[in-house]
C-alpha cells in the first residue's frame, strides 16, 4: 500500500510541476466571461445555460487531463528511462500501475473539486444579482446541491477514461493511445446505438460486430445526467450507486489487464 501511495503522490506532484492546474484558471475565466455575456443576452434562462456550460466544461477539461496525462503515465516513464531506477526499488509492477492510476485520479479529484467550487461561486453570484421574480421562474435552485450528483458522475466517468488511457499506454505509443482512448470515449457515448445497429445496416457481419462492441465497450452515456440535473429532474441515489459500481467494475478490469500486460513487458 505504501508503494502505491508514494508513486501516486509523485504523479500528483508531476502534474503540478507540469502546470496542469493552470487549466483551472482557464476554466474560471471561461465561466466568468460566459456568465457575464449570457447575462447580457438572456433573461431568466441564463442560470440554466451557465449550469450546462459549467458541467460541460468540467467534463471536457477533465477529459483532456485524463487522456493527455493518462497516455503518458507509463510511456513517459519508459521513454525517459526513469522506470529503470524506479522498478529496481521495492515496487512491484502491479503497484506501479495502481500507483500511477491513483495519482492521476487524485489529480482529477483535486481539479474537479476546484472546478465545482468555482462553478458554485459563479452560481452564488447569479443568485445574488438576479431579482427574486426571475429566480422564482427557475426549474431548480440556483445553487442546487443536485449539481454535485452530475459532477460526481463526471468524475467516475473520468476515472474510467483514465483507466482506458492507462491501459493503452501500457503497450502503445502516446499518439495511438490518445486516438484510441478518444475513439473509445466517443464510441462509449453512442454505445446504446450500437445495440440496435441492425436496424440501420443491412450487413449481418457489421451488425454482429456492433453488438459485440456494445457488450464490451462501457456505456458512457450512463454517466451523463447533466440534462436531468439542470432541469431539476430527480437523479435517485440508487442510480448513482449502480452507475458508480458499473464504472468501478470497468476500472478494476482495465487495471487488471493493464497490470497483466505491463508485468510481461521487457524494457529494452
Amino acid at each position: 500500500m505504501r508503494a502505491i501511495r508514494v508513486v501516486a503522490v509523485n504523479v500528483f506532484r508531476e502534474s503540478v510541476r507540469d502546470r496542469v492546474p493552470y487549466n483551472l484558471v482557464v476554466f474560471a475565466i471561461l465561466l466568468i466571461a460566459s456568465s457575464y455575456l449570457i447575462g447580457q443576452l438572456t433573461a431568466g434562462q441564463d442560470v440554466k445555460i451557465i449550469k450546462d456550460l459549467g458541467l460541460a466544461a468540467t467534463s471536457i477539461f477533465g477529459l483532456f487531463i485524463a487522456i493527455f496525462i493518462g497516455i503518458g503515465l507509463v510511456s513517459k516513464e519508459v521513454e525517459r528511462r526513469s522506470i529503470y531506477g524506479l522498478l529496481s526499488k521495492p515496487v512491484s509492477r502491479a503497484q506501479f500501475i495502481t500507483g500511477k492510476y491513483a495519482g492521476l485520479v487524485l489529480t482529477l479529484a483535486v481539479n474537479v473539486s476546484v472546478m465545482a467550487m468555482a462553478f458554485y461561486v459563479i452560481l452564488a453570484y447569479m443568485v445574488w444579482t438576479e431579482p427574486p421574480t426571475i429566480r422564482a421562474g427557475w426549474d431548480a435552485p440556483g445553487m442546487d446541491p443536485a449539481l454535485l450528483k452530475a459532477v460526481f458522475l463526471i468524475f467516475v466517468e473520468l476515472m474510467l477514461v483514465t483507466a482506458v488511457a492507462l491501459f493503452f499506454s501500457t503497450f502503445s505509443t502516446p499518439i495511438l493511445s490518445a486516438v484510441m482512448t478518444f475513439g473509445l470515449y466517443v464510441a462509449g457515448h453512442f454505445n446504446a446505438d450500437l445495440k440496435n445497429f441492425e436496424r440501420v445496416v443491412s450487413s449481418k457481419a457489421a451488425a454482429r460486430l456492433a453488438r459485440g462492441a456494445y457488450h464490451v465497450l462501457p456505456d458512457l452515456s450512463a454517466f451523463d445526467v447533466k440534462t436531468q440535473v439542470v432541469h431539476g429532474l430527480p437523479v435517485p441515489l440508487a442510480y448513482l450507486g449502480t452507475t458508480t459500481a458499473y464504472g468501478l467494475t470497468y476500472v478494476a478490469a482495465l487495471l487488471l489487464v493493464s497490470t497483466f500486460i505491463f508485468s510481461r513487458r521487457d524494457f529494452k
Binding site: R2, E14, R17, R81, Y84, G85, S88, K89, P90
Partner: protein, 326 residues
C-alpha cells in the same frame, strides 16, 4: 553462505524486424557466481551483453532461459530489492524533481521517513559531491551530475549488493577518482559491488576478479592476473641520453625503436631477447635507463582478440544451437 549473485545459463533473445521477424541473441548461456564482499568487474565492448545482463538481474527484462539469484533469492523478489542498489547505464530520472526530492521519493519507497530520510539523503548527496545544486530541478543538471545523483540513489538503502552499469560514464577525471574511492569504500564495508565497464583501467584498479563478455557470450572469467599473465610477449625499455650513433648501433638488436623526445627512445624487444645485455651495453655507452616493463596484452587487446574469435555481434539462436551441437 549463499553467493551474492548466481547466474546460471542465462540467455536472452530479442525479436527484431517488423515484417520479417527474426530472433537476435543478446546474451548466450551466461554462468557466473559472485561471492559476498567482492568487487566484480563485468567487462566487455559496447553491445557485448553487459547491460542486458544487468537488466535481467533487475528484472527489467525477462530471460528466454536460465535463471539468476541475488542473495539466495530469485531476481525480482521485493525483499531482495530492499537489499540491493542499482545504477542504470546513462541514468535518467524525473527532471521536474530536485536531487533532494528524487532521493526523498526513493527513500519513501524504502520506508524511510522524517528525519532519518532527510539525513540519509543529505549524507549521500554530500558523499557524491552534490552541494547547493541539490535544490535545483534535475533538468538543470549536467550528465556528470546526474551520474552522481544516480550513484547516490543506488546507495540510499545501504545495499548489500550494488549493481553499477558503467558507473564512470559521463564523469570527469575527478569524478572518476571519487567513484573509484567510493567503490573501494563499499568493498571495505563488506558490500558486494558488481559493475560493468568498457574502461579497462577501472577494472584493473578496483577488481580482483572479472568476467569478460563479447558477442553475448562469456569470453573469460577469473582474476585479472590469470587472464593476462600468459599474455606477456616482450619487453619495453625506455632510455634517455641516447646519441644518434648509439641508436644506429642498437636498432638491429630491437624489434622497434620509437623516439619519444630528442635523445629519449622506447625500445621494444621480443620475449626471447634478454633485456639485460642490451641494457648493459646502453648504459656503458652513456645512456640512462628510464623504465623497463614487460609488454602484456591489455584488456583492449584481449577484447579485440576475443571479439575477432567470437564474432563482433551475437548470433541468431539457431546459429548458437548449431554451434553448441558441433
Amino acid at each position: 553462505m549463499p553467493s551474492a549473485i548466481r547466474i546460471e545459463e542465462l540467455t536472452k533473445d530479442y525479436t527484431i524486424g517488423f515484417w520479417r521477424r527474426r530472433s537476435y541473441r543478446a546474451l548466450d548461456r551466461l554462468t557466473l557466481e559472485i561471492e559476498p564482499g567482492e568487487v566484480f568487474g563485468f567487462l566487455g565492448p559496447n553491445g557485448a551483453g553487459k547491460t542486458t545482463t544487468l537488466k535481467l538481474l533487475m528484472q527489467l527484462i525477462y530471460p528466454t532461459s536460465g535463471r539468476a539469484e541475488i542473495l539466495g533469492r530469485p531476481v525480482g523478489d521485493l525483499d531482495v530489492r530492499r537489499r540491493i542498489g542499482y545504477l542504470p547505464e546513462n541514468p535518467s530520472f524525473y527532471d521536474y524533481l530536485t536531487a533532494e526530492e528524487l532521493l526523498g521519493y526513493f527513500g519513501d519507497l524504502f520506508g524511510y521517513s522524517g528525519s532519518d530520510r532527510r539525513k540519509r539523503v543529505s549524507t549521500l548527496l554530500d558523499r557524491v559531491g552534490i552541494g547547493a545544486e541539490r535544490r535545483l530541478q534535475l533538468r538543470k543538471f549536467s550528465k556528470g551530475m546526474i551520474q552522481r545523483v544516480g550513484i547516490a540513489q543506488a546507495l540510499l538503502n545501504d545495499p548489500e549488493v550494488v549493481f553499477l552499469d558503467e558507473p564512470m560514464s559521463g564523469l570527469d577525471p575527478l569524478g572518476r577518482r571519487d567513484v573509484r574511492s567510493l567503490i573501494l569504500e563499499l568493498r571495505d564495508q563488506g558490500r558486494t559491488v558488481f559493475f560493468s565497464s568498457h574502461i579497462l583501467a577501472d577494472a584493473e584498479a578496483l577488481c580482483r576478479r572479472v568476467a569478460v563478455v563479447a558477442g553475448g557470450r562469456l569470453a573469460a572469467s577469473g582474476t585479472l592476473s590469470d587472464i593476462l599473465a600468459f599474455e606477456v610477449h616482450g619487453w619495453e625499455l625506455v632510455i634517455s641520453a641516447v646519441s644518434p650513433e648509439l641508436l644506429v648501433k642498437v636498432t638491429p638488436r630491437v624489434r622497434r625503436a620509437t623516439e619519444i623526445s630528442p635523445g629519449r627512445y622506447s625500445l621494444e624487444l621480443s620475449l626471447d631477447q634478454s633485456p639485460d645485455r642490451l641494457l648493459a651495453d646502453l648504459t656503458a655507452a652513456g645512456a640512462a635507463l628510464v623504465s623497463l616493463n614487460p609488454i602484456r596484452d591489455t584488456l583492449e587487446d584481449f577484447f579485440m582478440k576475443r571479439v575477432a574469435e567470437m564474432g563482433a555481434g551475437a548470433r541468431s539462436p539457431r546459429e548458437e544451437e548449431s554451434r553448441a551441437r558441433h
